[in-house]
């Protein structure tokens, strides 16, 4: 079942002849079918461009990704077969005013989240004051008791955050979810820009697009600022689960960008609560670990004992203050989708401000009324497991089968704390090249927020596209693609 397109369609010239509008905000066209000012230049160029050219440029872009080995793997794929990164050539454009608001909103949000995490793992004032229910926190799978009272460098629990935004029908950006544990996708943001500049140099040049290639440097500086006190020339490493991990490309890419060592758990040794890496020149002390390994697998002595990806004794070294982990352990309590619904209250509590970026309406299924409503409207709502990512553990009501809804019903009743529901949002659509025509597809936006000495947000982020017509699932693991995101420089 596809969300019906109800309004009268504008009749547009090729290559836009199959372009349709519905209630969703269209990034390129306004309600009357006219191109919005930021897209005017792009629209006109596409009108003038011979259809073959567009197709050829898309092929060239695909080849560029393949040649550079920019691929991704989906869990369950055969070893050795990687997929080409699915990229759509047409940029997603954001004006500088829109971006200013996003930037302020994200800065506010990450600041409040770090204060929240510090509070929740120490005094718990927000829990005492009843703003966030205590049981919600303690029942959260990702709340790590081991972190109670552990001092965190610069109180920075989340140094790297990827927050997913969607644009609502009225044009406002809203936060769909935060990713505060091991957010990924930034390497694709950088790769997309790189390819864009090569395939559409004239168009890119005619717009004033803010650069993003300082991300590697900003990331490096963020980690540097978190090094344990007194360390001269701190050694930073990126801890990866290894070549079989689906995000390995990104790990290797970022390590290279930052000029730091890419290590696996087995390269690290903890001795006397100090972390070392085993090199041919002897043991080298490690000061900051950008860890792309989940909490559960970090230290077999403290967390999952069957983990071969971690480092025995790492947590003790961390507790002793001899090594910094970015992000810290236990940040998942703040990106739990049930806790997400309290973020506006959290912002008010710590900052005394109204949230600049709104949340999406969320039903907590541990709440009886919300649960009742949800179970009666499963075919209209999106149900999500609170601790998952990558689009897994999700039911999209309007696209689901009765069997899927039944399965979710049982899971919800069995473990209501583990689920939330949200209205199926018709979030914004952006023009994409589909089989030599241009058609709209749903997009979201994941800016990457760095919390170092200052909050640094590289303009734009990863725009993800649900490539299948009518689909709302943007995750690459489920058939999504991506676009280059252009944040325009201030108007002259």
């Amino acid at each position: 079942m596809i969300i019906p397109e109800t309004r009268g369609q504008p009749s547009l010239p090729s290559p836009f002849s199959s372009y349709t509008l519905d209630e969703a905000f269209d990034e390129m066209l306004d309600a009357s079918g006219q191109p919005r000012p930021p897209y005017l230049e792009l629209y006109n160029r596409l009108l003038e461009m011979p259809p073959e050219t567009l197709y050829q440029r898309q092929q060239a872009a695909n080849t560029a990704f393949l040649n550079q080995g920019i691929t991704f793997t989906v869990y369950g794929d055969n070893e050795g077969t990687e997929r080409i990164w699915p990229y759509d050539l047409l940029p997603r454009i954001i004006t500088s005013e829109e971006w200013e608001k996003i930037e302020k909103g994200l800065t506010q949000r990450i600041t409040a989240i770090n204060l929240f995490l510090k509070d929740v793992y120490n005094d718990g004032r927000i829990l005492d004051d009843g703003i966030v229910p205590r049981w919600l926190i303690y029942s959260c799978k990702h709340f790590r008791r081991e972190m109670r009272g552990v001092p965190v460098p610069r109180d920075t629990y989340v140094a790297v955050d990827g927050t997913d935004l969607i644009r609502l029908a009225d044009g406002r950006f809203a936060v769909l979810e935060d990713n505060l544990r091991v957010p990924s996708g930034v390497s694709y943001m950088l790769a997309n820009r790189h390819v864009m500049i090569r395939t559409f140099p004239a168009l890119f040049g005619s717009y004033g697009v803010r650069p993003i290639d300082h991300y590697g440097q900003a990331l490096f500086n963020t980690f540097l600022s978190l090094a344990p006190a007194g360390r001269v020339d701190p050694v930073i490493v990126l801890l990866t689960p290894g070549v079989y991990n689906s995000a390995y490309f990104e790990h290797a890419y970022l390590a290279r960008q930052m000029g730091i060592e890419l290590v696996e758990g087995r390269d690290l040794i903890v001795h006397d609560n100090v972390v070392y890496m085993r090199t041919t020149a002897g043991l080298k002390r490690v000061d900051v670990i950008y860890r792309r390994v989940d909490d559960d697998f970090l230290d077999p002595l403290v967390f999952r004992s069957d983990s071969t990806l971690g480092v025995p004794g790492l947590f003790n070294a961390y507790r002793a203050g001899n090594v910094t982990l970015a992000n810290t352990i236990g940040t998942g309590v703040a990106d739990d989708k049930a806790v997400y619904s309290y973020i506006p209250a959290i912002i008010r509590y710590y900052l005394g401000e109204e949230p600049i970026l709104p949340n999406v309406e969320t039903y907590l299924l541990s709440n009886e009324d919300h649960r009742k409503y949800t179970l009666e409207h499963l075919d209209e709502l999106v149900v999500k497991a609170v601790g998952e990512s990558g689009g897994y553990g999700m039911l999209i009501g309007p696209y689901s089968t009765a069997a899927q809804r039944e399965a979710f019903r049982e899971q919800i009743i069995a473990n209501p704390r583990n689920y939330i529901a949200q209205p199926t949002l018709n979030f914004s659509r952006s023009p994409c090249i589909i089989d030599r025509q241009i058609e709209p597809r749903h997009v979201d936006l994941r800016p990457f927020v760095l919390f170092g000495e200052h909050v640094t947000i590289v303009p734009g982020g990863l725009t993800r596209v649900a490539l299948q017509r009518g689909s709302l699932v943007v995750n690459s693991s489920q058939g999504g693609g991506s676009k280059d995101t252009w944040v325009l420089a201030d108007a002259p």
């Binding site: 390269d267 085993r278 090199t279 002897g282 043991l283």
Partner: protein
Amino acid sequence: MLSRVADSLYWMSRYLERAEHTARLIDVQLSQMLEDAGADADLRWQRLLRSLRVSLDVQTGAYDITYSLIFDQDNPSSIVSCIAAARENARQVREQISSEMWEQLNLLYLQVKQTRMEQIWAAEPHKFLTSVKEGIYLFHGLLDATMSHSEGWHFIRVGRFLERATSTAALLDGHFEVFPIEATQYESEPLGYLSWVGLLRSCASFEAYCKVHTAVIRPAQVVEFLLLNADAPRSVRFACARMQDGLQAIAKTTNTRNSGRVERLTGRLRASLDYYQIDEILSDDMHEYLESIQRQCVLIHSGLYQVYLAYPIEVALTSRNAAHA
């Protein structure tokens, strides 16, 4: 560099050298079977099996032996297994090698994985085995041309030449076991001339030998060439020299203060090959001498691990880490 990374590069290199050596041995053997399938043919199979330390019986037959040595994935020393292992090691450290190297190795892997014994046996194994060798030559060409000649490159060299030294010694040992020579006969024309040519060809050294000694085959000179010739790229002496160069470069790059052990072992082996005379070797126990070379290679390999790859923490923390702590 990370010890694990150096380890993977070292083994990638050893596996490729092993695959190349095996391919050459089989190629020469099968070609010579066409030239002369006489009594010596069986002996030459024995020599091949002995030197590769494969416990198959000659009676198994050429087809099955060839299958086992090329395609059998249950045989960890088969060509397919070696190339797969080399590729897997390369995959773990892909960032360390150039993309041209990775693509070539991947191509070679796909090629051998997709080939069936029946295909090549009917057509002509020679073509397939040549393409394997050429695939590996190309890899080494790319290695020299596209990879920085820094620490990782040196570990690759050490692996390649250590493997070469030990397998050449093993080949000679296998040869003398099957074609023994009386001490008084080293300077005479040997029986089984073809088998001696085969020995040289198995080391890709027949033409080089002829340039030095003409086509006159004398066991003493063949041994001298394969063991002691300073310029022949496949002599044990040459391999040891390159191995030592590599180890010295690594010691320098890593600023190692206690590489003494592995350097001493390599130096000693090289010196013995630099300064020994052929008559000294011939008047001694040949088998014992060749075994001793292989034993020393094993010790060098262990030494490499002890110093650079798998050193115990206590040693690392006390001996040389004041600068790093």
